[in-house]
Symmetry: C2
Subunit: 554 residues, 2 copies
């Protein structure tokens, strides 16, 4: 059936009955589905998964195990063998992948086919997908439709079958940026972020791993760097942990894109005596006026690499080699934001370098650096695609058509961005909408630069095609900078707001009323909580239980 008619069906369901449908249970809400009125009962001990091929070199056993245990939990360990006297017949989940899976993803994000179909009948369940991501999304959707039976002990049930469902995302890049430099985050915390991303059908974890404050990544090229630049010996991600995390994410159909922000935001590198000569502004102190309080120091400045020193390019080559070794993904985020020109103008050698090389301005010097640094990346691995931060202040940045731009400026300036960079794919990460750390104060207890706080709704209602043509949008990303984040508060600051963005980039075609949207988002929060992810409520428990009485139309 057509997409439009399917929504009439959904709306009708909501208005005519309070029965929970797919729309109340699965978030992001699938593109198209039809439902019946029967109930399927499943005995976990008689539930089997079958698939049509061997997927080697990719092993799908881990993801199947993950979902079986998420759905049935301890029940699976309580199965008699052979299972007897069951009240329901055997149920088989059939998996069909149209083409052999030789990798978790194609190298290009846009080439990833995340589409899947799901058909649930009394006899069996069928999942069809063409790539690994589609399989994972299908399993996630299935896990949200099945629940412990209210009628039959030790059984599970799926309401409103038969269910036929086709689903696929609007945009390929649905990301979260995490920052492990301002506060070190435990690996288990990062895994919890990934667990939540799978539930929200997100595709990219952008790891802002190092910055001015600390450099917690164990470097293969410079093994002693973290001795100086990490907060402590216990606040370092070693190579095993990083590689395991990448694997953990890939099995869940999530790419990890690492960021090495340069030439700015590198102060921590200067903590190493070896590399201190490459870092300008290392000892530069900010000042900050406490509201109704004293003038105080401002903590670490954003140090900048010396673009006139050839050693700088030798140094970053080593870091690029580290990233290449750790992160198989074909994308690397090279930062490029907030280069403080006064850090450069204060160094005579840099001023002379500009004179001798006819570099007329500091913006031109930035482009000189960016261009030379990209050359270094290409030398390390020519297949990598570079991503850069961009905002209104850096519209002078000269990039290649193949580069991807992550825009952190004001949403209202997205149109200007499109005009200036018509050939570049864009990731929407606007500071006035998608920054998750706004409105809760800054690291001194004053106001954050990007006040106010953005609620799940304010994040959800931003429609990117109001500013950009769909074909220029690679996707959207919420950013979680970590000045005020630790292992305890990260979950709530991310969830469910990140999922509200994911919904927008997955499926904008929603019915006019809010009940389904809020119900399914509540269902997502409940699922996250049940899995130990500390998502916060989006409404009162009364509204969660009586969504029509809160979000229905008068």
């Amino acid at each position: 059936m057509g997409r439009l008619s399917s929504f009439y069906f959904i709306v009708a369901t909501i208005l005519l009955s309070s029965a929970k449908t797919v729309m109340h249970k699965v978030f992001p809400i699938p593109q198209e589905f039809e439902e019946g009125e029967d109930i399927l009962y499943i005995d976990p001990c008689l539930f089997e998964i079958a698939h049509n091929q061997n997927f080697a070199p990719i092993d799908i056993t881990p993801i199947l195990t993950i979902y079986k245990s998420r759905i049935f939990g301890e029940k699976l360990n309580q199965c008699p063998s052979p299972s007897n006297n069951s009240l329901s017949p055997k149920h088989i989940l059939n998996i069909h992948i149209s083409s052999p899976i030789s990798e978790y993803f194609p190298s290009k994000i846009e080439s990833t086919d995340e589409s899947y179909s799901l058909e649930i009948t009394q006899d069996s369940t069928t999942i069809k997908a063409s790539q690994y991501s589609g399989l994972v999304h299908a399993l996630e959707t299935f896990s949200r439709l099945i629940e412990p039976s209210k009628k039959i002990k030790n059984h599970y049930e799926i309401e409103n079958i038969p269910i036929t469902l086709q689903d696929s995302p609007r945009f390929a890049y649905r990301g979260i940026m995490i920052d492990t430099s301002r506060h070190f985050l435990q690996v288990s915390t990062l895994m919890r972020v990934i667990d939540g991303m799978v539930m929200a059908k997100m595709s990219v974890l952008h790891w802002h791993i190092v910055d001015d404050d600390s450099f917690p990544m164990q470097s293969l090229s410079y093994p002693t760097l973290t001795n100086y630049a990490a907060f402590s010996s216990s606040q370092i991600y070693n190579s095993t942990q990083i590689q395991n995390l990448v694997k953990y994410a890939n099995i869940r159909a999530i790419r990890i894109i690492p960021e090495f922000d340069n030439p700015g935001h590198v102060r921590a590198i200067g903590l190493s005596p070896t590399f201190l000569p490459l870092v300008t502004c290392f000892n530069k102190q900010w000042e900050y006026q406490m509201p109704n309080g004293p003038l105080i120091y401002g903590g670490p400045p954003t140090g900048a690499l010396d673009p006139s020193n050839s050693q700088t390019y030798t140094f970053i080559q080593g870091i690029f080699q580290d990233l290449n070794a750790y992160f198989p993904d074909s994308y690397v985020h090279l930062g490029g934001d907030e280069v403080l020109f006064y850090c450069w103008s204060s160094v005579p050698a840099i001023v002379n370098f500009m004179k001798n090389n006819n570099i007329p301005s500091y913006s031109a010097l930035t482009n000189y650096y960016i261009n030379r640094a990209r050359g270094v990346l290409t030398a390390v691995n020519s297949t990598k695609t570079a991503i850069y931060w961009l905002n209104e202040a850096t519209f002078y940045l000269q990039v290649k058509p193949t580069d991807i731009l992550e825009f952190w400026g004001f949403t209202s300036n997205l149109t200007q961005l499109a005009t200036l960079y018509p050939n570049n794919k864009i990731i929407v990460a606007t500071g006035d909408r998608y920054y998750l750390d706004c409105g809760m104060g800054n690291k001194y207890g004053g106001e954050s630069w990007c006040d106010p706080f953005h609620t799940w709704w304010e994040i959800y209602i931003l429609e990117p095609t109001d500013y950009l043509s769909a074909d220029q949008i690679l996707g959207g990303e919420v950013t979680m900078f970590a000045e005020l984040v630790n292992d305890f508060v990260l979950d709530w600051k991310i969830w469910p707001r990140a999922a509200a963005m994911a919904q927008r980039y997955w499926n904008q075609n929603l019915p006019l009323n809010l009940t389904g949207l809020v119900s399914s988002l509540n269902a997502l929060v409940n699922t996250m909580n049940s899995q130990g992810i500390g998502a916060g409520p989006i409404d009162s428990n009364f509204c969660n239980l009586n969504t029509n009485l809160c979000f229905g139309s008068p």
Copy 2:
């Protein structure tokens, strides 16, 4: 030594050395202390507590056990007996209570003497207090000064001894209000709140236990009420849980003051067919305009009890009897806020009642109700003191001089409050400073009524004596209304901001520089985190580790 000179000493310590002092470790920062330059090493197996009397009927063993395990953890279970070859002598903590303890607190909050002294030398540690609260505070301070030794394996150390410390709070009431009606909170979550309050030396947990959304308190008078008015059978506080929680709090020197908000905020009561006739506005629906979205229903209105129905007073007598049975404390919060007059004017019986009794206005009717309800409370227990909410909109409220007023209006109106109610003790809970749920959206994803978010600093800098005379201030309270709070996010929304208020009401006499304040608040956050309380950071980890470089004076 005098208070003033002690602060010169502290400032000097900070400016002249980076050594951590009492000021960097204990929050709220103690009133007076002197420190030496030696280090005391303690072998947990040779640590003993001695006290000068039997405290029956109060048993101090539980609180001593709590602190021993908080300080030494598993180490205590690894002690050889008898302990031999220790590198340090036996250390005895002597406890002297000047008067026999016959209760956890005196009935009046103002009569509570929380003062204590602490003396730590190479030979022994001495705690002196006159009441139970002082003992608990002294143990808390001691626990923050002792840490695992950096030098001697399996030992602990206390820096800068000898330490002589005298401490006592400025104001008796340092409270947190929690709301278990908009979201049910697990008992373990409430216990975690109490654990944090002990660390911040707070004195009162104000339990806003019921409201419009749900009535989760098992009633002894009306055993079936929660069948209708609780969210579910698993979201009820039964009498054992309530009594255990009160005991849990009292052992930690914290009072629990229950609130039954009336005559407004009682809609949930109407869910019971028996009591529905007593609740006006039960089915009244709000409407809410989603920003850039549709008009929607607004969820439950704030129902109001019918003041003209004598059954109403019979009903509340039963609830007062429940509170009297569950909560031994001599204070009861009776609410009194947000009585919607249109709920009353829409009922002919109420309009007639006013005519027949010459009640000229709805504000007068409110006073009629409040006065009659207080009479019911007195009949149940004449020793109880009533606390009422008050803001600019309810300055018509007529109260008795013995009543306590909790002001939730604008801080700027505190002076007017003092003029209108010169004889009443005041709890400062101003909505523009002490409400912890502001600035993070409302239950629809729109803006909260009390935007913006209040940071720890904005909460800390509010000096109540700028608006009220010290003798009229009972204390301060931060409020955590729970529309958007669940068991996962409560900790961060409360901590460490509640502690920033507690510091202000404990000790305003701080040195001018911020380093000590921020260091000790960071120490509190670290202690909370180590005990599983999800407090959030107040600054970046760099500033936590290098506080002078962030909060020192340029």
